[in-house]
């Protein structure tokens, strides 16, 4: 645990190009750069997932006709990359002081062939698993913002994974709180 790391940088609200600006809200853009190589199709799909999750929490209506850019650089990947990106994105939004309606955190569950649920799997465990589910869980009443599944599983198993992820989300939110507290106590 703890080997996957992503560096997040947030720019904005800045002036948007006329072709990209939206008249009533901020235009959010996410750029995900892998550790080696050029961004490919997987990166693009992850960028869209992150973008839609962030758009659900950011109060874009307070900054119309502006552009908010989030750049994520993968420093090392040892499993659970998508939820690491989600957590980095949320911390970047928090740190920059952008108005948010809720916080969110990413939790990955791996469903092993024998039915046990593993939280935050390593790359090895992800390979062996039958299905990998990633959830973005909001801080208000632990609602689900985003769910991404790779592999097949039954509905009950998905519900179980969701419950486990919601419990794990508490630990992550506590970590957010502690980091912010440390920052403001200086």
């Amino acid at each position: 645990p703890g080997d996957t790391s992503v560096l997040a940088g947030l720019y904005g609200p800045a002036e948007a190009k006329v072709s990209k600006e939206l008249p009533d809200r901020a235009a959010l853009e996410v750029l995900l750069r892998p550790k080696v190589g050029l961004p490919g199709v997987m990166e693009r799909s992850r960028e869209q997932l992150l973008r839609q999750t962030c758009e659900a929490v950011v109060l874009g209506v307070l900054h119309p006709r502006t552009a908010i850019t989030l750049v994520l650089q993968v420093l090392s990947d040892a499993g659970s990359l998508l939820s690491c990106c989600l957590n980095a994105a949320c911390m970047a939004l928090l740190d920059a002081g952008l108005p948010l309606t809720a916080l969110f955190c990413g939790v990955t569950c791996a469903l092993q062939p024998d039915g046990t649920i593993l939280l935050d799997p390593t790359a090895r465990q992800e390979q062996e698993a039958r299905a990998i589910l990633t959830f973005a869980i909001a801080s208000s009443e632990r609602k689900v913002l985003m769910a991404n599944t790779k592999g097949s599983c039954s509905v009950e198993e998905m519900q179980q994974c969701l419950a486990a992820a919601q419990r794990a989300a508490d630990t992550v939110f506590q970590f957010y709180r502690d980091s912010v507290r440390r920052r403001y106590s200086k």
């Binding site: 609200p13 307070l62 740190d95 920059a96 002081g97």
Partner: protein, 202 residues
């Protein structure tokens, strides 16, 4: 940092919740930020980027350039235009600043006097700090400014958009003040006193 939603309040930024019991009680969230969002009535330092007919475009560090009419200076008339070039620094306040419109600035206050606003003179050094430090420096009895003024005499303009302009007698003194102000963000009072004592001993 607080917003009304339906019947309740929504906290939208992270920070310390503060309360002022005077005059009906006001709650707000103190947050650290570097990016400036224009607010009506804020005094800011802007950089002139273009002259478009009767109006100057100023970069204030927000998402859009602000506009400043040439008549918005003290004693300016159609015949008597102020001498503003591209690249000049101007200290003014926002008269219009909401999310839907381009921000507008003026260099006179409501009675028509300039009260310290206007074009900032030559020389000096402009640099950017976080908004939290500016608020600290603008507090009524700021220790940092008092301690620095015992060191060297200097001229200081603080913009709410995070920009500070400093001018002291020599370039070296100016740079020393700039470095201290930038470092003040992360130093505690103890470290700052030590650094200043070291400098005044020189």
């Amino acid at each position: 940092g607080l917003r009304r939603s339906g019947a309740g309040l929504l906290v939208t930024k992270c920070g310390l919740l503060r309360h002022r019991p005077a005059g009906g009680g006001a709650y707000w969230v103190d947050s650290q930020q570097k990016r400036y969002v224009p607010v009506k009535g804020d005094h800011v330092i802007g950089i002139v980027t273009a002259k478009a007919g009767d109006v100057f475009r100023l970069d204030v560090g927000g998402s859009e350039p602000a506009s400043l009419s040439y008549l918005a200076f003290e004693g300016a008339t159609k015949r008597n235009r102020p001498n503003v070039q591209v690249g000049d620094l101007v200290y003014g306040q926002f008269v219009v600043a909401n999310k839907d419109m381009e921000p507008e600035m003026v260099c006179i206050d409501s009675s028509g006097k300039s009260s310290g606003m206007g074009i900032i003179g030559q020389d000096g050094f402009l640099f950017k700090v976080s908004l939290g430090l500016i608020r600290k420096l603008l507090a009524p009895k700021c220790e940092i400014i008092q301690e620095l003024s015992q060191l060297y005499p200097f001229e200081l303009v603080l913009g709410m958009n995070g920009r500070i302009w400093v001018k002291a007698k020599t370039v070296q003194q100016t740079l020393i003040i700039v470095n201290i102000l930038e470092a003040c963000e992360y130093m505690t009072a103890q470290q700052r006193k030590q650094a200043l004592a070291k400098l005044s001993g020189n």
